[in-house]
């Protein structure tokens, strides 16, 4: 079973994240970049399927040079190899354009399953599996909290409010995973050493047969006009409970006409 896992590098959600006032795109060069946390669950799931079914796990990343750190992390967890699409023209692409780049890269690969995270923590779109499924005519099995593969079929539990939907489709299929699906492993020292020797193939837009004018800020399907920091909240009221904390809280609610 050959599996491609889509991995994105994102600015760490725990550190300060900004847009770049020069062109209103995510300031990636100055950010504290990490592997998208959700993608670690997709990698783990791919490794678990490989342990059962055999085959190879290939990482696919579209992103700037610095994204090699995220790729190495994925390889150190145990993936076999990686494809890194890098091209300066991709800077500022919208999700629709990025999906065209990923789709073109996938068309040059062989796979039974494509796994990806349920969302990238930078823009929190949760749309990549739908975009790719639409472009490639693949079944979309998104939002999985459980995945099983058997007899050419992939079946997931799609997480919903208060439960799940059991959905299934023939493979090849694209599956996105939530953080409820497994517990990602930490890279071992051996894994980290081995990752340094694993093959990472770099591809440009030309290698994918894509015209640079179809991607990037200039032809993006949507654009950020302007942005601003959220206005700071006025200083709130803070009371220390000396037996009357509950009462003051309820009085506050009453003043707000909530009770």
């Amino acid at each position: 079973m050959n599996i491609v896992v889509l991995v994105k590098q994102v600015p760490d959600s725990g550190s300060e994240r900004k847009l770049d006032p020069a062109d209103n795109t995510v300031a990636r060069a100055t950010a504290d970049n990490v592997i998208n946390e959700m993608d670690e669950y997709a990698i783990e799931e791919a490794l678990l399927v490989r342990e059962r079914e055999g085959g190879e796990v290939t990482i696919l990343t579209v992103g700037p040079d610095t994204a090699t750190d995220a790729i190495r992390k994925a390889l150190s967890m145990g993936a076999d190899k990686a494809v890194h699409v890098v091209d300066d023209a991709i800077h500022g692409s919208c999700a629709v354009q990025t999906s065209a780049v990923i789709a073109a890269a996938l068309q040059q690969m062989e796979y039974d399953l494509v796994l990806c995270g349920a969302e990238a923590t930078d823009a929190q779109l949760s749309v990549m599996p739908a975009l790719l499924a639409e472009r490639l005519g693949l079944p979309q099995l998104s939002g999985a909290r459980k995945l099983t593969v058997e007899g050419g079929m992939a079946r997931i539990e799609r997480q919903t409010d208060g439960g799940y939907w059991a959905v299934e489709a023939p493979m090849p299929a694209i599956v996105s995973t939530w953080d409820t699906i497994n517990e990602p492993r930490y890279p071992s020292f051996k894994g980290i050493m081995a990752a340094k020797k694993k093959p990472v193939e770099t591809k440009s837009l030309a290698d994918l047969g894509l015209d640079a004018s179809t991607v990037g800020l200039g032809s993006a399907t949507s654009k950020v006009l302007d942005f601003a920091g959220r206005p700071p909240k006025g200083e709130g009221i803070k009371v220390t409970d000396e037996g009357d904390g509950a009462e003051k809280f309820v009085e506050f609610l009453a003043a707000q006409k909530i009770v």
Binding site: S13, L19, V96, A166, E168, S219, A228, K233, L253
Partner: protein
């Protein structure tokens, strides 16, 4: 006036339209005259037409077919794409659920358009407001290609009635085999709750690691019930097994924007804030005066939740 297609999001069988649909109809009026699109099994539209008309739908397109329910997402995008090509609407507005965002994405590819997700406001010129980076950055954006497609975040626009004709127009549905690859085998409800739905609730009471145990979450539920609120939880509370994952608020959980958010025993990590920062009023109860949640709070109680919360619950009940 220009036509704006609004995809109706419905409650499970017979439960009417979701509040998010009324919000979407209201927001769409900034751009033109809304028409609602009802996609579902045969018999779905009749039960919701009146409500859609009341909130401004001049036309209710009725696309009823079992295929729409039996297969995931793709059939809905296909019907909408057909409508977009026939009606050339000024825009499409879809409630921002996971499915709504996926429909928007597919529709964008099918119609060669751009789309914006989780918008909180749509202006007459099509400019949308979005909240980025855990609520810290407010962004104005625009679709620059094709028919603008928006998904509207729940609880960001107050639904306002604006009675319109709501004329039913049947839409012939024929779903391609391509869109019938992913079969929905079963829909399973694990937690039935009598409380309001987390993303729709006007009050949310959330508990964190400070609640200390699953049993102790009854304190949170007690306060929630006294206020008619939904219950939420931080990731630490979920990871510790205190409360189910579907109630997690934050970056990797639900985004809520209620009138009142009460954070109990929650420190206020940035990933938690991401899911609640835009709440109108925020109350924090925490024993650590340095907890970052207090930076956001309109009202904070420094104290032990085990005494403050039950006492407050009793007092709220006594006021009724």
């Amino acid at each position: 006036m220009a036509e704006v297609l609004v995809l109706a999001e419905l409650n499970a069988a017979g439960g009417g339209v979701r509040k998010t649909t009324l919000e979407a109809l209201t927001a769409a009026r900034a751009l033109g005259e809304p028409s609602a699109v009802v996609l579902g099994a045969p018999g779905t539209a009749a039960a919701v037409r009146d409500q859609l008309a009341e909130y401004g739908a001049a036309i209710v397109y009725v696309a009823e077919s079992a295929d729409v329910e039996d297969y995931l997402v793709a059939p809905k995008a296909e019907v909408l794409a057909q409508l977009v090509s026939e009606k050339s609407p000024a825009a499409v507005v879809i409630p921002s659920s996971p499915e709504g965002k996926e429909i928007a994405a597919r529709l964008a590819v099918k119609t060669g358009s751009g789309f914006l997700t989780d918008v909180t406001e749509i202006a007459a010129d099509g400019t949308a407001t979005q909240v980025a980076f855990a609520g810290q950055t407010i962004v104005h954006s625009q679709v620059t290609v094709g028919t603008p497609i928006y998904t509207l975040r729940g609880n960001s626009v107050a639904p306002e009635p604006a009675p319109a004709a709501g004329a039913e127009q049947p839409v012939p549905v024929s779903i391609s085999d391509q869109a019938k690859q992913v079969r929905v085998v079963e829909r399973v409800v694990e937690q039935k709750s009598s409380r309001p739905e987390l993303t729709e609730a006007s009050i949310v009471v959330s508990g964190g690691r400070g609640v200390a145990s699953a049993e102790n979450f009854t304190i949170i539920e007690g306060l929630a019930d006294s206020l008619g609120a939904a219950v939420g939880a931080s990731r630490a509370a979920v990871d510790s097994g205190f409360y189910p994952h579907s109630f997690q608020v934050g970056q990797t959980g639900k985004t809520v924007s209620p009138q009142l958010y009460v954070a109990v025993g929650i420190s206020g990590a940035i990933q938690h804030r991401a899911g609640m920062q835009t709440s109108k009023t925020i109350v924090a109860i925490n024993k650590d005066p340095e907890a970052p949640i207090f930076e956001l709070a309109d009202f904070g109680v420094i104290g032990d939740l085990n005494t403050v919360v039950p006492t407050a619950t009793e007092q709220i009940k006594a006021r009724k």
